[in-house]
């Protein structure tokens, strides 16, 4: 049972209480950082963006007018992430692949088989590559819904589009991911091979 009283902390933050806002930060920082990191695929940049997002949220807390607070935070972080990606796309000399985040160590598998672990690591790398090949909008939607497990409505609220748009993006992103991972069928489990 958590004693996290979000409404009260938000109200205290409106009054300029840093401690109250830092309770909110502690509650949501992992979630915000995960989405940002998987969107921008650069740890240092993700840390900067997450930090800036929380500072921006504190400064703009007066503009929060109810709704899911986490979605409001995600929206700020999403805007900062897309700004970063846009900036990177204009500077091709800076490759995000130099500091790419691989999921190799984070694909969970209950088996203790080293070969299976290695295959999982390769599969994770492949998935990461395929995720990176999606458009920013599709990747953000897929990360939030399929990886982080957020509901469609909260994802739509966070990204600032309709639920229908999110469903459409998810549908297309899954189809593209399917096409992408099937380019290396040897890494796929039997269930994923056509």
């Amino acid at each position: 049972m958590t004693n996290f009283d979000e409404e009260r902390f938000i109200q205290l933050t409106r009054d300029g209480d840093y401690d109250a806002f830092n309770r909110i930060v502690a509650e949501y920082q992992d979630a915000v950082f995960a989405v940002v990191l998987r969107t921008v695929r650069n740890r240092a940049a993700a840390e900067d963006i997450t930090q800036d997002a929380f500072i921006s949220a504190f400064r703009k807390i007066a503009s929060y007018r109810g709704g899911v607070f986490r979605a409001w935070l995600f929206r700020i972080a999403k805007n900062a992430s897309l700004d970063y990606l846009r900036k990177m796309s204009r500077r091709p000399e800076t490759s995000i692949d130099e500091d790419i985040v691989y999921f190799s160590e984070t694909v969970r598998d209950d088996s203790a088989d080293p070969l299976a672990d290695a295959l999982n690591a390769e599969l994770a790398r492949l998935i990461e590559d395929c995720l990176g090949g999606l458009s920013d909008d599709h990747r953000l939607a897929m990360v939030m819904v399929d990886v982080e497990g957020y509901q469609y409505d909260e994802t739509a609220d966070s990204i600032g589009v309709s639920i229908g748009t999110i469903k459409s993006r998810i549908n297309r992103a899954r189809a593209r991911m399917r096409d992408c991972v099937q380019q290396q069928p040897e890494l796929l489990p039997a269930s994923m091979r056509l």
């Binding site: 846009r86 984070t106 399929d146 459409s168 269930s191």
Partner: protein, 322 residues
């Protein structure tokens, strides 16, 4: 095709997309299951395709959560630093931050303003629109000063006239007389004469060139035989500049209804009434029949808006790192 476009336009998703998503996620309703099964019967490859996507979703779901290895707690110093680093442009950009699609708004405004300036210019060239006339009542101080600077010797000569005994009247008359000096001195006299229909032959010349040389204007008057014109001619000194100044100073000291109506367009209409159709054609050609607008004022304002909006748009792009 059209339905898909409309669905995208209004953010709606077609039922097939809903059904496929729900089927892959394993929470399809009975109707959605029915729809997907029907589709799989129609296209056997779809079953394997959807199975692949289900497996992919399973793999994505097995990706572990990411933990931040540091705290993102904020301090007053961080907020102060962020505040101080904000430029005016970034403050403006923040206004658009909640709705990024509005970031294009300045460019839309700039484009509209620039297009309007272009249309006004083209309209001006083709004669569809015209600069609206400046009436005497709205004659600006700056315009008076500009014209005074352009004709200093005429104004100075006017003040030196011995008839102007009253200093108060002279000081009041000075700017108005100086402002009207270049052209209305001649037209004042001539239009009065033309009103009476006595000098129809002179009308096109005067209307087409209201700022014509004062000598030719005087010559037109001297050629007339009418007594009225002769009387008016007596009032005009031989020197053309002095005559213009004298007439204008007289107007300024004793403003009458006929002096108020002396403008280039007024002359044109007076001529049209008094001198017949041939003269009227020439006069209206000079006055123009396009839509009258404060043209250059509009162009300047719209061009300024276009520049400002373009600057705002460029600033936004810079702040957003584009």
């Amino acid at each position: 095709m059209i339905r898909k476009f409309l669905n995208r336009l209004f953010g709606r998703t077609d039922p097939v997309t809903y059904a496929i998503n729900a089927y892959i996620e394993g929470n399809a309703s009975a109707d959605e299951m029915k729809l997907v099964e029907q589709m799989m019967r129609d296209d056997p490859a779809l079953e394997k395709d959807l199975a692949t996507q289900q497996a992919l979703l399973g793999v994505l779901g097995r990706i572990g959560g990411i933990e931040a290895h540091r705290s993102f707690a904020i301090t007053p110093e961080m907020v102060a630093a962020a505040e101080s680093s904000r430029s005016a442009v970034s403050k403006l950009a923040e206004l658009f931050a909640p709705q990024r699609k509005l970031a294009l708004a300045p460019m839309v405004v700039a484009g509209f303003a620039a297009l309007t300036v272009a249309l006004l210019t083209i309209g001006d060239i083709t004669g569809v629109v015209e600069q609206s006339g400046i009436d005497d009542d709205s004659f600006s101080i700056s315009a008076i000063a500009a014209v005074s600077a352009a004709a200093p010797e005429v104004g100075g000569g006017g003040i030196a006239e011995p008839e102007i005994a009253d200093e108060t009247a002279a000081s009041a008359a000075q700017p108005a007389a100086a402002a009207r000096a270049p052209d209305s001195g001649a037209t004042a006299e001539d239009s009065a004469a033309i009103d009476e229909g006595q000098h129809a032959g002179a009308a096109p010349t005067l209307a087409a060139a209201p700022s014509q040389d004062l000598e030719s204007a005087d010559a037109t008057l001297e050629f007339g035989d009418d007594d009225e014109v002769a009387k008016r001619g007596e009032l005009i000194p031989e020197d053309s500049e002095e005559s213009a100044v004298a007439a204008q100073l007289q107007e300024a000291i004793e403003p009458g209804p006929e002096t108020e109506s002396i403008t280039s367009s007024g002359i044109g209409s007076d001529i049209g009434e008094g001198a017949g159709a041939g003269a009227a054609d020439g006069a209206t050609a000079a006055a123009g029949d396009g839509i009258e607008l404060p043209l250059w004022q509009l162009q300047i304002v719209l061009a300024a808006i276009a520049l400002a909006a373009t600057g705002a748009w460029a600033g936004l792009r810079r702040v957003r790192g584009e």
